[in-house]
């Protein structure tokens, strides 16, 4: 089926699930609300979402030969796109490229597909890929970003983010407010402006966080064997706590004490008011608490 026939088909069936055939190019547009809620699912290949200054969604790309159906449900406030394949074991890559209003709320899900989202300024962004990489460059009030084995990258601005990977790395920048990140074996690099609440957790990956904690903020970073490095302004006030069973603690804030009996070292140091709290823990990883 050629592209022009597809366009006609989409236009006629815009409010009902649509069926297209494998190997087709896609090119379809919908007029939507500026804050349209869009969900897109793809098993293998790529998902690209880019914002633009129109109240319109345009979907282009290429369907893999294994695709049985491109399921689309569209209305002005909601757009759902899902790639359905005939055979679970032999799946060809499908590339979906979406241009969407800047304020569109996005929920993207992929299995073995990379997800890339850019140019948005919206209320909520959620992107999950089971084994692909997820990269977001956007401004959003709430970001959820996850991959099991892929890398997770966010740059832009958000006051609230949750990021997770099992074996992939996590890189987050342009953050403020509440930040949560966890990996098992991946490393994480986090840059936060003013943080209210931060929770970071790894098993063997390293944690590197650079931030300033608000006056009543909370920061906790925990690892088993990975190193924990936290950078704070020299004038940061609050309660500084660090503890490790067999790792080394080094700090620009206070003095480290060692257990009288058995292994273990810890730090407890107070600067100014007691409202803010920094708590760093490791089993065998080293802890470094440094001032900028």
């Amino acid at each position: 089926m050629n592209t022009s026939k597809l366009k006609l088909f989409f236009t006629l069936c815009v409010l009902t699930p649509l069926a297209v055939w494998a190997g087709d190019s896609i090119d379809q547009s919908w007029t939507v609300d500026s804050d349209v809620r869009i969900s897109v699912e793809n098993v293998a290949g790529e998902i690209h979402v880019n914002g633009w200054d129109r109240n319109e969604v345009r979907l282009t790309g290429e369907l893999g030969d294994s695709v049985d159906e491109l399921e689309v449900n569209a209305s002005s406030s909601r757009l759902q796109i899902a790639v359905l394949n005939r055979d679970e074991r032999n799946i060809d890559e499908t590339v979906l490229i979406l241009r969407v209003p800047e304020g569109a709320i996005i929920e993207a899900f992929a299995v073995s597909a990379d997800i890339e989202i850019a140019g948005l300024d919206n209320e909520k962004l959620s992107a999950t890929s089971v084994s692909g990489d997820v990269e977001i460059r956007a401004t959003s009030q709430w970001v959820s970003i996850e991959s099991i084995s892929g890398d997770v990258i966010f740059s832009g601005q958000t006051p609230r983010i949750s990021a997770e990977s099992v074996s992939g790395d996590i890189e987050l920048s342009g953050l403020s407010g509440d930040v949560e990140a966890s990996t098992v074996s991946g490393d994480m690099e986090i840059e936060v402006g003013m943080m209210d609440k931060g929770r970071f957790e790894t098993v063997s990956g390293d944690i590197q966080v650079s931030t300033e904690l608000s006056s009543s903020g909370r920061l906790s970073a925990e690892s088993m064997s990975g190193d924990v490095i936290v950078s704070l302004p020299a004038e940061q006030s609050g309660v500084f706590k660090a503890q490790s069973f067999s790792g080394r603690i080094s700090t620009d804030f206070g003095t480290v004490s060692h257990a009288k009996h058995g292994p273990g070292s810890r730090l407890k140091h107070v600067v100014g008011n007691h409202a803010a709290e920094i708590r760093l823990e490791s089993f065998s990883g080293n802890i470094k608490l440094q001032s900028d």
Binding site: V43, S112, S131, V166, S167, S182, V184, F245, G262
Partner: protein, 177 residues
């Protein structure tokens, strides 16, 4: 963390962990559909082991969480608490290991993930195992160390989460057929 803080922290832990959704109905219907199409029993249900392992683990961990919530001793019995936790670890460790052994061969299901992903996931699992071994070794030497006990509970939580992620991965092998 001092004694009071530890007790308070433990009491604030969730009393149970509820799976986000029941994975079974979807998997079951897929199997039945496959069986009807082929006219023969479905291929060996490779998902079953991790699913069972996950279920066992969920139940087990739920039990542990309940235990942690309801059995928290009064303040001032730190040593008893620490030994109790270590004892819990001892008795549940074998069950954990049995459950996880079902999951460890991560190529069990022909994971439809690209490139080095199965290897990297396996590597993460190995890291969790190594962390567990190190912690248990330390706990054998310092069973009353509250920090180690706390770390072990944290690790259990991470292990549970890992298994849940694997179930998600497995579930996605069956979706959208």
């Amino acid at each position: 963390m001092n004694e009071t803080e530890l007790t308070n922290a433990m009491e604030s832990l969730p009393r149970h962990i509820k799976p986000q959704r029941d994975l079974w109905p979807g998997i079951s219907s897929r199997l039945e559909s496959q069986q009807a199409q082929t006219g023969r029993p479905a291929a060996t249900p490779m998902w079953r082991s991790p699913a069972i392992a996950a279920a066992v683990l969920l139940a087990l961990t739920t039990g542990i969480m309940i235990g942690r919530g309801t059995n928290a001793p009064p303040q001032g019995s730190m040593t008893t608490l620490a030994y109790s936790l270590a004892g819990t670890t001892e008795t549940t460790e074998r069950e954990y290991q049995a459950a996880f052994r079902e999951l460890v061969p991560l190529n069990y299901s022909g994971l439809r993930v690209a490139g080095d992903d199965p290897e990297s996931i396996r590597g993460s699992w190995d890291e969790l195992q190594k962390a567990e071994s190190s912690l248990l070794a330390a706990l054998r030497e310092y069973p009353a160390n509250s920090f180690l006990n706390e770390k072990l509970m944290d690790l259990r939580s991470q292990q549970l989460h890992f298994v849940k992620q694997m179930v998600l991965l497995e579930q996605n092998n069956w979706r959208r057929t």
